[in-house]
Every structure is written in C-alpha cells, then in structure tokens.
Symmetry: C2
Subunit: 300 residues, 2 copies
Amino acid sequence: MAELTKPTIGFIGLGAMGQPMALNLLRAGYPLVVYNRTPERSKALSAAGAQVANSPATVAHQAEIVITMVSDSAAVEIVILGDNGVIEGLQTGSVVIDMSTIAPKVTQKIAAKLAERDVAMLDAPVSGGVAGANGGSLSIMVGGEAAVVARCLPILQTLGQKITHVGAVGMGQNTKLCNQIVGMGTLAAVAEGLRFARASGLDVTQIIEVLGAGAAGSWQLANTGKLIDAQDWRPGFRVALALKDMRLALTEAEQLGLDLTGTETTTDMFERLVRSGAGELGVQALGAQELNEKGSPWTA
Amino acid sequence: MAELTKPTIGFIGLGAMGQPMALNLLRAGYPLVVYNRTPERSKALSAAGAQVANSPATVAHQAEIVITMVSDSAAVEIVILGDNGVIEGLQTGSVVIDMSTIAPKVTQKIAAKLAERDVAMLDAPVSGGVAGANGGSLSIMVGGEAAVVARCLPILQTLGQKITHVGAVGMGQNTKLCNQIVGMGTLAAVAEGLRFARASGLDVTQIIEVLGAGAAGSWQLANTGKLIDAQDWRPGFRVALALKDMRLALTEAEQLGLDLTGTETTTDMFERLVRSGAGELGVQALGAQELNEKGSPWTA
C-alpha cells in the first residue's frame, strides 16, 4: 500500500554522515526540518528545500520523527535532554531515532526519559561510512520495540540497504560495538600480516589474493588491504573515530565483566596512531610500516 | 601431455595431515615409499600398497621426490640433515619438498645444504587442515625455483586445490606465517566480538549474519564463528598447533625488526588457553566465555 502522506522528519547533526542522509530523506519526499550546532552546515539542506530550525526543541516541535546523528554520547544527551533539547519540543506519540554510535547505557537512559513523555525511541547506529550514507546503502542495526521499528521502517529503508532489528533499545548500540570489535580487530590482523608480508619480501598484492581465498579471508583483507598495499592512507573511516568506538566498546565490556585483551591491544594501536599525529588518516594506517616501526611524526 | 611414468615419491611424517596426503598420492598412482618415526603409523599406508622404509635415508635412496610433513623446524632438520637423514640417501637431481610449517630461516639453511649435493628444495606449507588433507583440497604456498615448481606441480595438484608459487625458497613459509598472523588474528577478533555479543544479551546467530554482510565479515566469522555460537570446542585446528605457528611468526617478525603487538596479544591468548589445559581443543576455544573470564581448569 502506498503511503498517502509522508511524516515530517526532524534531522539533527549535519556532519559528514548526517548531511547526505538528510539529503536522501528530502529526495525521497519527506518534509524535513534540520538543525546543526554550526549553522553553516545547514545551507546545503536549506538550498535543497529543508526548513532550518534554530534549536533541537524547535525541530521536535515541527516533526513527528526526530533523527539525531551527532558525534558522541555527550552530544546526544545535550541535543535530546539538554536546554532547548528535543525533549522540550516533542509531541506525544512521536519517535526519536538516534543513529549516532554511543554508549548503550546512555541510549537506555534517554529512552527512559522519553518514555515518561510517551515518546518512543530507537537506537539505530549504522555501518557503511560516508559512501554508504551518500548512496543510501548503510547497514542499520536497530534496537527498540517491534511496532516502532515497523512504523519507522520506510524511513530507515531510505537511508540504508540492510535494516536489522536486533532487540530492545540499546541493542542496536551493542551490535554496533560488536561490529567494531570484530571489524577493527580483523583490520589489525590484516595490517600486521601485510606488514609482515612486505618486510619479508613477499608480493603484497599476491598475498592478499592467496590469503583471501582461504581461512584468512575477510572483507578487511580484500578491501582495506588494497589500500595498505597501495600505501594510500587517505580517510574513509578515520583513526580518531575508530578510537572513539573502540573506547566505547572497552567501557561497555568492562561493565559486562569481560576482559577483551585483543580489543585492548587494537585500541592501543589506534591510540598510538593518534599520538603520532595520524588521527585524521584512514584506519588502514594501522598497516603503515614506517609509522609502526619508527613512531615518527606522520605526514599524510 | 600425459605422464608416461610417475616418479617414485618418498613421504616422511604420517601424522594427522601426512597420512591422508600420502594416501592421496598412492591413489593417484604414484609409487610410494614411506617412513614415520613411530612405525605403527605406517601400517595403513603399507596395507594400501606403500613400501615402508626404516630410515629417511632409505626413503631418499629409493625416491626421486621426497616429501616431509613433520611437526616443527627441529624435526625437519633431523629427518633431512640428521643421522640416517634424507641427505644421506638422495640422488643428484632429486627434489625435497618440505610441507611442514617451520621457520623460513631453517628452510633456507636446509636448501643450501641440499644444493651442495645438487638436490633442489621447495618449501610448500599448506592450509586447509585435516579436512583439506583428506579431500586433496589444501591450499599450498610454494617457495623455490620456477622450474622445480613446474616439475613438482602434478604432485602438488594431487594434494591441493590451490597451488601458488610465491617466490624463492623460504617464501612459502613466510606466506604461511602471514596466513596465520591474519587468520588467527581475525579469529581472535571474532572470538572477542561474539563473547561481547553473548554477554550483552544479543542473539549470537543473528550477529554472525548481520556482521558477516558488512565490513566485519570474514571466513573466520562465518565458519569458526558458528562453532563458537554452538559452544563446540572440538578440534579441527588445535590451540597447541596455533600457538606453535604464532610463536614462529613472532620470532620471524623480530628478526625482520617488526613490532607486531596485535599478534603478540593473540599469541598470549593461545598461551593462556594452553596453560588452562585447553591446548588440545580447537582454536575456536578463544571464544569460550568461561575460560576467558574465570581462567578455570578446562574440560572439553
């Protein structure tokens, strides 16, 4: 059945990810109200037909569904629960979808506050990076009540290709952290293997092909491995953001009573890159021989 | 062009891998002479039509191609260069193919000794485990001179499905170590991610599927991950053997001047399992919650 009218969507956070995501909603015909802390970032959206609000509360006042896509737990708390926050403008029966990657515990706290106002919340962090945001091909991991997920599904399908409902509120964030533990840990293994290959005189291009066909094969080897082979450190997913995600995962693991020594080491590897001035490079810089061996100041 | 006569092959080392590999050669019509330190292991081969020799030297005396498949660097040195070793029986123009996983430096030392007798050497370690050995579907990473590789290719193709010539003598071993660094490091990441998933209340089966479709996907997640999900710790590839390979990789990395902190941590994880009595379990035991958190004595 076709939707007769599309709900107005509020979108808060127009960074590298949020901007193309908001544009995709606009292009799909959703009336859009946007807010960004730095107002200049709203210009492209405004030019494309979005209304620009002057606070998260104003966004919420005009929208039935409010999406937040900001940098971290503190930023999500401020835009939703802070002064002039989303919570001050929301109408009963509306939905907040937080698509940032933040601490599951913070998600659950915010959801409880919103529930007191009869507002539902979904946590829907994404993977797929800026390319996925641009192409509407993100993978979206959703936590929340099934009925709310169903209601928001057309919106999520505008933003992503693979939408998975993984459990109650907070479980989207846990899934995302799980994804980062596995994905970044796999990349760390690929990076060390290819550094070993290069140092021992092997043909890195051939090694990626040979290993990729067997039990050492992975998305990271096939894709990020190629960037390491080409010594191309330009960002897709940045080291500094990976470090933020890994620290979140370690904090959550500690609260769960888990000792994740491999994840700690991978986090240390990212920290070392950041200290060397490589925080704005792509995560494939884990495979940079010079940086790892000399620890010298880094230039992209 | 069909081969008119097949060369006689000597096969030394009839363990879990060597026995099915030798049987595959016999079934393919190669005249076979075998030797194993523990003579009982030769019985199945003898029953299938292989000649049984009483020393590596005797094997070499009767064979044009000698394959070794033993446990470690020391064992390869003993069977090839030791008393009554292969080198004492070899004829000029024959070839030694070492398919064990050993230190590349030891491979190069043995190759140099054999070259003094006009005997060529290939290092051809494998991946694919006992299942691959049984099915003749191993991946074989070959170091050595191209002409020698070409001469031995039909034999290698009897044992494996994917044969890759990766460079000079020793490079097969470097490729195998690279494969273990990446494969076991990837598994460590999968193990910690799935432990996190389970502890946070996620559905591990669903997480394997969701993560597998994106940038966290790998052979280890799709295959070994299923064993972790099922809490099935029975061996395929054993923890004790993985530890041996990881230690080899770290020794070689040190000689190359590489600092592989992730690989060190993965090695520590395997060491901890061995200390807990889990050395004979499959490598997927890295994902066992109880063992990792309680460090309690382990029962399979």
